[in-house]
Symmetry: C2
Subunit: 710 residues, 2 copies
Amino acid sequence: MNYHTQHAPLGAFASFTLGLPGSRGGFGQSLCGPADHNVYVGHRCAKPGAAWQLLPFYRRPEKAAVAAFTGETGKVPATPPRMIDITAVTRDLGWASDTWRHNDFSFRLLSPFARTEDPAAMTDTDARHAFAPVICAEISYDNTEVDSTVELLFGLGNTEVPLRPLEDSCTDLQGFAAGRGFGFAARPSDIEEPMQSLDLFDPPALDHRGLHLLGSEAALVFRVPAGESRRFPLALGFYQAGIVTTGIEASYYYTKFFPDLEDVLRHGLAAHARYVAQSEARDAELVGAALNDDQRWLIAQATHSYLGSSQLLLHEGRPLWVVNEGEYRMINTFDLTVDHLFFELAWHPWAVRNTLDLFVRRYRYTDSIQRPGGGAPVPGGISFAHDMGVANQFTLPGTSSYECTGLHGCFSHMTMEQLLNWICCAVTYADKTGDIGWLREQQALLLDCAESLRRRDDPDPSQRTGLIKWDSHRCGPNGSEITTYDSLDVSLGQARNNLYIAVKAFATWTLLERAFATLGLRTDAEAARASAHLAAAAIAAQFEDDTGTFPAVFEAGNKSRILPAVEGLVFPLYLGFAEELRTRHPGLFAQLSRHLCNVLQPGVCLDAESGAWKISSTSTNTWFSKIALAQHVVRRLFPNALSEAANQADAVHARMQRSTPLGRFAMVDQVHSTTGTDLGSRYYPRIVTACLWMEPQACPPNQESVIRIR
Amino acid sequence: MNYHTQHAPLGAFASFTLGLPGSRGGFGQSLCGPADHNVYVGHRCAKPGAAWQLLPFYRRPEKAAVAAFTGETGKVPATPPRMIDITAVTRDLGWASDTWRHNDFSFRLLSPFARTEDPAAMTDTDARHAFAPVICAEISYDNTEVDSTVELLFGLGNTEVPLRPLEDSCTDLQGFAAGRGFGFAARPSDIEEPMQSLDLFDPPALDHRGLHLLGSEAALVFRVPAGESRRFPLALGFYQAGIVTTGIEASYYYTKFFPDLEDVLRHGLAAHARYVAQSEARDAELVGAALNDDQRWLIAQATHSYLGSSQLLLHEGRPLWVVNEGEYRMINTFDLTVDHLFFELAWHPWAVRNTLDLFVRRYRYTDSIQRPGGGAPVPGGISFAHDMGVANQFTLPGTSSYECTGLHGCFSHMTMEQLLNWICCAVTYADKTGDIGWLREQQALLLDCAESLRRRDDPDPSQRTGLIKWDSHRCGPNGSEITTYDSLDVSLGQARNNLYIAVKAFATWTLLERAFATLGLRTDAEAARASAHLAAAAIAAQFEDDTGTFPAVFEAGNKSRILPAVEGLVFPLYLGFAEELRTRHPGLFAQLSRHLCNVLQPGVCLDAESGAWKISSTSTNTWFSKIALAQHVVRRLFPNALSEAANQADAVHARMQRSTPLGRFAMVDQVHSTTGTDLGSRYYPRIVTACLWMEPQACPPNQESVIRIR
């Protein structure tokens, strides 16, 4: 259990991060990693001089603050707190809860989420509840078998500014806040004593209330009488007023319903039981899923990090949905949106539409395209920017914060991939939700997308082969397009003639075929179907009979083997027509099956040492979000490829994420497949795509899968 | 020149801190120390591959940001910048400017300030100019003698979020900002090239504009053709919208006039010439003062730190003045207000009145008093809280963030001292400004103050001795009052029977006498005069003829010797009636003169090793603000006490503040008198009291001394 978890409300781009033993965490607003607060949680026997026993979520001593005033150096406190040995603690991470137990003591943090419909159509009461920037917690002790009183403590230390007692601003809350931005509260009737000092466990001074307002350490003490079992609710809240972004000037959506932090905390306590019920419902759903414990844990941890990156803004009176890109904080990175898609369709499908609309409205562009190595540019077509900006700073229309020119690797353009992503997200959204009205509004755009897609095979229809061979002119004469797998080697880095892109494009044509059919565009549907066939044939032609695999890149004798060969099939699978495709393209599917059987072997796409899945045979940089996606497709469509070794990898993946190198940053995407060290994409939302594992086995299209998930 | 300086606009509680070689600084909003930004300032020959020569205000390399994306570790950049050896640089700190010169290159930062009247009565245009949260800078090169083009660079790195190009939000500014909070700008016509990257001097990627929006490093490049001399203005701005405080909910006053950061920067450039003229006027005034270079430097550095702690808020449509207490960030700490008084009366006298009114309205209380060691409390009288809160969090009425109960040292109550401080500030304000209308409004309060002061001698008039012997009941049965000198030993720590407090109380009675006379309260003036005589006699009786000194505390055989024996005389001196007092109390003045002659000796109140002045013979913790004040009183009233050693100490004090231990935190108040290390009160405003040294030699009351200072 060497890991932090992001305990986060939906849409506040904020996390109360906790869990890595021996380290700090606490309240983080829009950070790229854990905050640096001591979190004091524990219990003691209510006898004079009894030491607090605290969970190991702090670093002591805090004498610097005292010395700054008195010029004195530290001394050992009379009764220093005792840090509980983590081996004596059990921890259970649920889908929407995180519980620590130490003998009769327990502490849990809740990150409830629930299905929401379009916020613009919600009642204020419902929206207030759904988007409150609050985390619920509960501290409890079963003292029924004991004959002495026990005290419980929840507190915070090492905050950037001294804390302030909430009792100074309202009578119905007891707790502490740092300025106007965050704080914690309980019901005054539950509190035995508030504490605040420069040093909570050895206060150099206390005022008439027993507090010291200069203190950056504060806590609430609860009392459990002998023979009783008590459970005390806590609310942990965030608040940011006013405009928080640039480029597009927006404020937090919750500011429509909450005037300040106090009101957030008040709501957190008042609605505590409802939030608990929501959390427990989510927990039960995950427990009820046909998954092993490692899989459940991975989903739970991934969902927590997703929520921590989520951000619902208010712009010109309307909701604006953002998922920030973990430590990078890029806004709505499109190649993450396409992976968040499945979770969002289950829980807040309006968010998908909201993001797609913003990509259309502001982050669409029309480019020229060029042959590899430059040459005269010719008209390309439409595509979409890689992202919408970074760290609350929206970029200019049609541009991303990430993409640069003149490159063949990291930071180059992803024009092709984002075009595929828009189509995949749009058709999947419309198909899954049945929002055909919206699909109809996109008709012209979908046709433009199809044309853009074809031209990137070749502008001259007679030259088309079914593979993408042209790069966006935005790459410049000395650059070429890349894929989302930017930090990998060429096996996944290059967009042109790439197996991953090729299969994804094949799948995209099948989606377009369905969309055009739905829209009654029979000719276009037929054309899309023909393009799918062309793509399928082109891919099939690259199969190496001798090795029984596809090369990752259809150029330069590439010998890499990759799992994302089948990534694109997730959409047909999700929408329930993958088996229909298999029937249509038995050869390709058989080749993909053979490919998977041959690559899911130790030393190829299973790390020879650790046993972890690897997305590429030629890179030890593997991305867990994409592993999760590949696992889903393989399990559902190519189960024969699942060797015993491949099946056992969940334990490896979970162990890596639960261990110190990764666990410092909650969920990490880019991992060294052998050593399990973090290579990038820390504190990352994308792995929520693992929620696909909870999809029912056969899911017909146009039905609310969420009903069955729940 | 091993020191940081806070370059700060008036009233923004913000500093652009720069100057300590080999360290970072940059934009800090309401911080307790320097920010952590790389500041890139320098020049290069405009030839391919020529290295930038940069002032040493950064730490390299910045490869972590790149590695986070690419997973790659650092490499040496092709043409790394060369850090200019600080010994090749000259630095001149003026009263409102700071200039670095390296050969023909120069860079200066300006912190202009000017006399302001009540903001509520200012025109919007004047207020906008006076309170703009902007610092002006100027980068220049004299290329007249050279036949090749030179490029100049100003930039920032290691910001908390990637920077954003201002050209994306407006056409009339070129520069970069971090979110909505701070940024730098120049005129677009001056700019040769903007730069932004993950690594400014070895960019892994650049977009079509030659920028990379993910970069937390950005700069502006200027060009100076061969044979020309060029000077380019820069504006460095801060902005915080909305309510920024709790307890009293207030926003920044400048938000009345500036809608956003861009407008602040725009103003900074438009008004650049005017700000330059203001800065140069201040610089000339300091140069023109009859002071030595060390004294001038100390005043300049102190004024910069004062400005960095200053904060003008807007509350219910009216100005609310705050000076934050340096690293501690306490709001309007009263024992600092009384030291800021002289600078504020010269430059913004309305601020004094504003603070005094808020103390009366919200931070006044009526206490009970007790004999030392407890006993039954009896009615005391009015006094004022030590401070108004901390870090933008205002405390409840009548309470401070600092004061605690049951203590004899640091964090105890300062009831007596704050009572004296209110009277001293109020009478000095009214007398100096001639605001007799305001004084009249305080008439009842002044009478209450006098009564409270007397009762702290003894509640029974027949028992009064002229010394303060009772403590506030707020101290509790196990506590006693302290003075502002909280971290010193008992020589200055204890309020009761304390020489410093006794002389200050004596002076306070003389101020009350003047105030009551002005108000036509002849009887009360007579009574105040009698109290002054009683106090003078009580103090005189404590003189030790054998040692020729006063003990610091009139109890327990105390043998400490202190310089603040004469601190209270600063008010009569400032108001021009000190010589009148000497005539009235020749014995006491003669004793004080002997005292000073005897304590201003090595090993007593001159540090035997360093030669620095020490406020107490028994503590090596010395406070430079109080040294400055004592120096002023000694020089003007007791010049005979100035030995050669005492006179040479300015060089010692300046050297300590300019050296690394202190220089890391701009101006530091609490210093180890022997080693010159920092003991507390870093980044501190209080030393601005050194501006007293600029007072004209004889300053009659009721005249605008500022006219002569300027």
